[in-house]
């Protein structure tokens, strides 16, 4: 019993670490993007200030589902983050870092947020949710096909074991071993993080920040926390699946930072697609590339 409690405490620690890490890196990234835009940029801890400010504000609610959805969203995401391995050997629940848990448990959070947003009664929020779900339909399939290839090659769906597999001498990172799939995964990751050009569901100029439209105060603050942890989960997934996991925590942070910053810089010079363009985009080249990669890797066995 006590070790289970310890495991859960470790899990909460992992989630907290993820939040702090991602929030700091997001702050630094705001500075990086500001430099691309010829600006000075905010303080590196600006994201913390924003979140705590939101938590300190008074807010409005549109009924119990509005609050319940937010709690479910944050809870689901915290729960997901608790499974995340930080390095290839350190995680809260050893052996249970199954890839499918992350893909599907994260959906609880998404569902909670979608529910809460729709519960606000604002049509813009519903449109935003619709776009978010459609975007999800777009990026998830190519990404899953690439991950299928990896699971088929490694024979395991545990993130840490996939990471360890890549660290074995003779095996290169899957980003290099499966180059086509790696590119697909980067695109899918951009879709997951809602980076431009796949930022359709926020789209301030069209639907006034979409699902977030009715949130203020603590609900918005909690959704910000949720967003930060979601980004942590998604980028960590990429690091573990494609960049060879991490032998130690420093390496993890470095890889994490590089991936996230690179994505931010890429996205800062792109505009935003329309939602059907996102779907068409993902179901054209990335899907074909992912299937090709899977075919090459599984049936022909060509893995670099």
């Amino acid at each position: 019993m006590i070790d289970i409690l310890l495991m859960i405490l470790t899990g909460i620690g992992v989630a907290l670490f993820g939040f702090v890490l991602q929030t700091s890196i997001a702050g630094v990234n705001r500075k990086v993007v500001a430099r691309v835009q010829k600006r000075y940029g905010p303080k590196w801890y600006q994201e913390f200030l924003d979140i705590f400010k939101l938590l300190s504000k008074r807010s409005v609610t549109h009924g119990w589902i509005f609050d319940f959805g937010v709690i479910m969203a944050l809870g689901g995401i915290i729960g997901t983050a608790m499974f995340m391995p930080l390095t290839s050997s350190f995680m809260a629940f050893d052996g249970y870092d199954n890839f499918f848990i992350f893909v599907y448990l994260i959906a609880v959070g998404m569902l909670g947020m979608a529910m809460s947003a729709s519960g606000s009664g604002n049509p813009l929020a519903s449109i935003g949710v619709m776009r978010a779900l459609t975007t999800m339909l777009a990026y998830e399939v190519p990404f899953m096909i690439v991950v299928l290839t990896i699971i088929k090659i490694t024979g395991t769906s545990s993130l840490s074991e996939i990471g360890l597999f890549q660290q074995v001498a003779g095996n290169s990172w899957f980003f290099i071993a499966l180059p086509i799939g790696g590119i697909v995964a980067v695109m899918a990751l951009m879709g997951m993080l809602g980076k431009k050009p796949f930022e359709t569901y926020i789209a301030p100029a069209e639907i006034a920040s979409g699902p977030m439209v009715e949130y203020g105060g603590k609900q918005l603050g909690m959704l910000f926390i949720m967003h930060e942890i979601t980004v942590f989960i998604e980028v960590s997934l990429f690091v573990h699946l494609f960049l060879g996991g991490a032998e130690n925590i420093v390496l993890f942070i470095v890889k994490y930072f590089v991936v996230y910053t690179a994505l931010n810089i890429i996205s800062s010079v792109y505009g935003r697609f329309k939602i059907d363009q996102v779907v068409l985009f993902f179901y054209k080249w990335p899907l074909i590339m992912a299937i090709t990669q899977a075919f090459i890797a599984i049936y022909l066995g060509w893995v670099i």
């Binding site: 050009p197 639907i207 010079v269 505009g271």
Partner: protein, 368 residues
């Protein structure tokens, strides 16, 4: 049929300025839409009747916020026509410099504004940075950043400051050197092209129906219908420039024309700086007692080519110290009111903001 009502503005990131586009959508296709103007109504036309001719100089730039100089120019032209004033030669050239700088400024702003509906904020920041340089130049010339009150009936308020040519030249060189970068970042960007190619087209045959002028019209009818060419004012007949046109007026063509006009404007400013003669810049309209200056009876319509089209002042004088009636033809009146009502339905919700941006709907001049 069940529809949903959405609003674009007044408090909306997709709306520039204070107006509201009411949109009825089915799914995401716009079924019905209209502009709700009047949020910026200040009673200008009434206000001008209550101020003397000279007092009005400070009032008119505020008609259109983003491009005050065309207002001043049109007003000055109207008063000059009524009062039969001859403007000194140098003033004409200075006016052209000011007008073209203003055109550069608003084109940059509109081009940066394209970043808002398409999500390319980097472009917005870059464009606004360059626009800020223009505002600084204006501040040096006129003493104000936005509302210059510089072009007055009878010339310009004062001569150009010493050494401003250098500033202007260095800015133009800088802008020109980064022109290709702007294109690559903006309309050559594949993601932006996906958004603006073939988006909200304006067919050539409906242009006259609406009364749209400016880039929206030129890019549809493929003819150089620019007031600077067709009925040249100031000294536009003495400078060389092209009027960019396009055969098919989608969002891309309109933005493209805007960017090409930037090049032309740079050329015009360079020519002006080179050809500008020395001399007076203003004829005194009256000795002392400027507030009691009277203008002969008459009714004229003076118009200039603003960045959004024909900007005109209809002015009636009854020979008194105040204008009897001033009517302002806002350049974006047709595309703002009738265009949104007639040509937004059938397009998509995503593109509504692009119409506002690429057609240059400017609410202050609609409401006045």
């Amino acid at each position: 049929m069940k529809e949903m009502k959405l609003f674009l503005g007044p408090q909306h990131p997709g709306m520039h300025g204070n107006a509201s586009v009411h949109i009825y959508v089915d799914g995401d296709i716009i079924k019905k839409s209209f502009l709700l103007p009047g949020m910026l109504h200040r009673g200008f036309e009434k206000g001008m009747e209550r101020h003397s001719w000279v007092n009005n100089i400070s009032l008119i730039p505020r008609v259109c916020v983003v491009e005050p100089d065309t207002n001043e120019m049109a007003f000055a032209m109207a008063v000059e026509m009524l009062a039969k004033l001859e403007v000194p030669e140098r003033a004409h050239w200075i006016r052209m410099i000011i007008l073209e700088l203003a055109r550069l400024s608003i084109h940059l702003m509109a081009y940066g504004g394209l970043g808002s509906p398409t999500g390319l904020y980097t472009m917005m920041y870059h464009a606004h940075t360059d626009r800020n340089t223009i505002l600084n130049i204006f501040e040096k010339i006129t003493g104000h950043r936005v509302y210059h009150q510089y072009i007055v009936p009878g010339g310009v308020r004062k001569d150009l400051p010493v050494g401003i040519e250098k500033d202007i030249h260095s800015f133009l060189d800088d802008l020109e050197s980064r022109y290709e970068e702007y294109r690559d970042l903006g309309i050559n960007n594949p993601t932006i092209q996906a958004r603006i190619n073939d988006t909200i087209p304006l067919p050539a045959e409906v242009v006259w129906e609406l009364g749209v002028t400016g880039i929206g019209m030129r890019s549809a009818v493929n003819k150089p219908y620019d007031l600077r060419k067709v009925k040249p004012y100031a000294r536009y007949d003495q400078v060389e420039f092209d009027v960019p046109v396009a055969p098919y007026s989608d969002a891309y063509a309109r933005v493209d024309c805007k960017l090409q006009e930037v090049v032309q404007s740079i050329g015009i400013i360079r020519q002006c700086l080179a050809k500008m003669p020395e001399g007076d810049v203003r004829v005194p309209i009256s000795r002392g007692q400027a507030m009691r200056w009277t203008v002969p009876k008459g009714h004229v319509y003076a118009c200039v080519e603003s960045s959004r089209g024909e900007f005109g002042y209809f002015m009636v004088s009854d020979g008194g110290t105040n204008p009897y009636r001033v009517g302002v033809r806002g350049a974006s009146y047709p595309q703002g009111l009738l265009g949104i009502e007639k040509y937004l339905p059938g397009t998509r919700l995503d593109d509504a903001a692009l119409w506002v941006d690429t057609m240059g709907v400017c609410s202050p001049e609609i409401d006045r």
